[in-house]
Point group: C2
């Protein structure tokens, strides 16, 4: 319905105005093949980052680009179930810049088969489970460069189990 009025959902959700809905649909119709590619994060230690994202979380390295002229390495990682959406790790060679951490970017989220097993595996690697999966549903960890990562249990929450059920939060995420 290019440029037209979509009535679906109007008035069914609080705080949603009619005009932005119409405007958004009209615009979206004109760019229908726009595609999500990746989220890029800057890293300072490739080995440590690959240990976290690949050994820990289970992402796979899809390809890497090294630029001697630009003095950077790009590594593209993806989750096995939908490898089209990538995480791009950027290493700037020789940089000692403090990349810091802020709150405007929140987190990257992944669905896992068994959130208890995933968190147990991460703990054995020495990775802090900042928000343990007390509810069998959700956990948060952070990358070596302080990128928050949310893990969500696939399907229904797992029955709460120790050591998670009584484990407090650690720090922020």
């Amino acid at each position: 319905m290019p440029g037209g009025l979509s009535l679906s959902g109007l008035g069914t959700r609080r705080g949603r105005a009619i005009v932005p809905t119409v405007r958004r649909l009209a615009r979206s119709d004109r760019v229908s093949s726009m595609r999500y590619l990746h989220a890029m994060v800057r890293v300072r230690d490739l080995d440590e980052s690959l240990r976290f994202y690949c050994d820990g979380l289970g992402l796979r390295e899809m390809r890497r680009i090294e630029s001697t002229a630009g003095r950077f390495t790009l590594i593209y990682l993806a989750a096995p179930a939908n490898p089209e959406a990538e995480i791009e790790l950027t290493l700037n060679w020789g940089s000692d810049e403090d990349y810091g951490s802020a709150r405007n970017f929140g987190h990257l989220a992944f669905e896992v088969d068994d959130i208890h097993a995933t968190c147990a595996h991460l703990m054995t690697m020495g990775i802090t489970i900042h928000r343990p999966p007390r509810d069998g549903h959700m956990a948060f960890v952070r990358s070596p460069d302080l990128i928050s990562v949310e893990l969500l249990q696939k399907g229904a929450p797992l029955p709460p189990a120790e050591p998670w059920a009584s484990m407090p939060n650690t720090g922020s995420w």
Copy 2:
């Protein structure tokens, strides 16, 4: 090849050790259905954010969750070509926290059909093109909350064209 040795790619890329490659493949095989869900960003003004992400970039609103108890709104946006990878906008009601901006998170990247047309559309909306598509291939803009967004031309670069070819960078991204 669970737990086994993969020889593919070994020795073909500089700086990549054998041991981490084996370790990563072995781990990945154990979590084969892990799935990328979303990148979450915190926003302070929903209308302004939807104007940028939907009216401007062409993302579509897939669903929204409003929690009166938690005093937050979550809006899930996606690109039409691969809507499974979402952007989650989080609005914390009544928050005046300065979410800031840092360099550990780099950007979100999208592929577009016509990077010149997309940037022209964004400019007419008053959005700064921080890195104009001088090469017909790549551009950067920033969200109202300072999330950098990379736009990449689908397929081959477009022939360089004005006003982009001679347009300088603006600020940082």
